[in-house]
Symmetry: C2
């Protein structure tokens, strides 16, 4: 699926949760471009901050409807888009339905590679999120444009985003509604959480650049999972 | 689809937006049970407060991922459930994908009648929303249990909910993913908005009775619709 020249093995100079990183499976997101001076230090610290999240907890991230980022990697080139049209479909294994419009540059990558990462940004990243939404991977390197840091995934080629508090490695498992609705069903294979971002507030898109930031949290006696 | 005996024509003693109410299409939600003393007054005031919302604006309600209520009407009996697993699929006509589990009593009604209302509650209704989620239409009349007020829809039999700030009359347009994923695609036929609820804050479910209430609104220079 990827050009041989673009496969960029990421050295294992970190321990921890990415121990089983499949380097051969990791396509070149030109990480060195994004860590010009403190490459290894940044990567180590970013990687060290990521912990595996139980798959059964994934729905707690997506069910509230946050704006997310979706990364792909196609023909050795990583890309990222913003997305608000997604919903949980199943708890375990976590299944997610999402709409990636064929007008989006990411559509072809998602359809061809059948994999992506869903990254969940906290409100502090709102400006980056909008920057990512305002340009196209057809014209620019969106990671660079938005100042986002791609990190290797464990199971797939699409990169994680270091700044996001959660990252979900996904595989497309259902395409029957792609032709008519651009709707994909994904299975989350692996989920990561940054424990240093303790109570991240997410953002929710209301259209035309209006976003609502998470406010107070309430706890009610619900029997629903 | 409905027992003849259960069709309960609602008198047109109100003018305004529900003028073209198709009484023959409206099944009995036993409205008189919910307005024991001030039936006509309550209905008039509730109806008077509802205005049609342009279909092109529907995505602004659902895209942020609020907890919603879903009403159905099957064999003359109305029911309501809570739902968080939904996403926009298309702007116009507005299409919505949602997961209604076959474990939910509403599943059979939705599959058989191919119609429902999506009602969007503000945070003040959080306790009612949880009450609706904590019981089943198999055992109780959930409108009564939660103290919610059903109102006639214009195009379908499923009732609107008077207390909700928005109500969307929907028809099922896609069932290919129902058998495997309990996922329906709906088209919004008609949308209503209560203009008296000016800046409603919605709630977002994080699992196990934890809800996040909308906080501050931010406006960024986005090119996304």
């Amino acid at each position: 699926m990827f050009h041989e020249e673009s496969i960029h093995a990421v050295p294992h100079h970190h321990g921890g949760v990415y121990g089983r990183l499949r380097t051969a499976y990791y396509c070149n997101v030109q990480a060195h471009d994004y860590y010009p001076d403190d490459y290894s230090k940044s990567r180590r610290s970013a990687l060290g901050a990521v912990k595996e999240l139980p798959l059964a907890d994934v729905y707690r991230l997506l069910e509230p409807g946050p704006v997310v980022l979706l990364t792909t990697c196609h023909k050795g080139r990583a890309n990222v888009m913003t997305m608000s049209w997604h919903t949980m479909v199943e708890f375990t294994p976590p299944l997610v339905a999402c709409v990636v419009s064929r007008a989006d540059y990411s559509f072809a990558a998602l359809r061809a590679t059948r994999e992506c990462v869903i990254a969940v940004p906290a409100a502090e990243l709102a400006l980056k999120v909008v920057k990512i939404g305002n340009c196209s991977g057809r014209e620019v390197d969106k990671f660079e444009t938005a100042g986002s840091t791609p990190l290797p995934s464990e199971c797939i080629a699409s990169p994680l985003i270091a700044e996001c508090f959660a990252n979900l490695e996904c595989r497309v498992v259902e395409t029957r509604l792609v032709n008519k609705y651009d709707l994909f069903v994904l299975e989350v294979l692996k989920a990561w959480r940054d424990p240093l971002q303790r109570n991240p507030k997410t953002i929710h898109h209301r259209g035309n650049g209006i976003f609502v930031v998470d406010g107070e949290t309430i706890r009610l006696k619900s029997r629903m999972p």
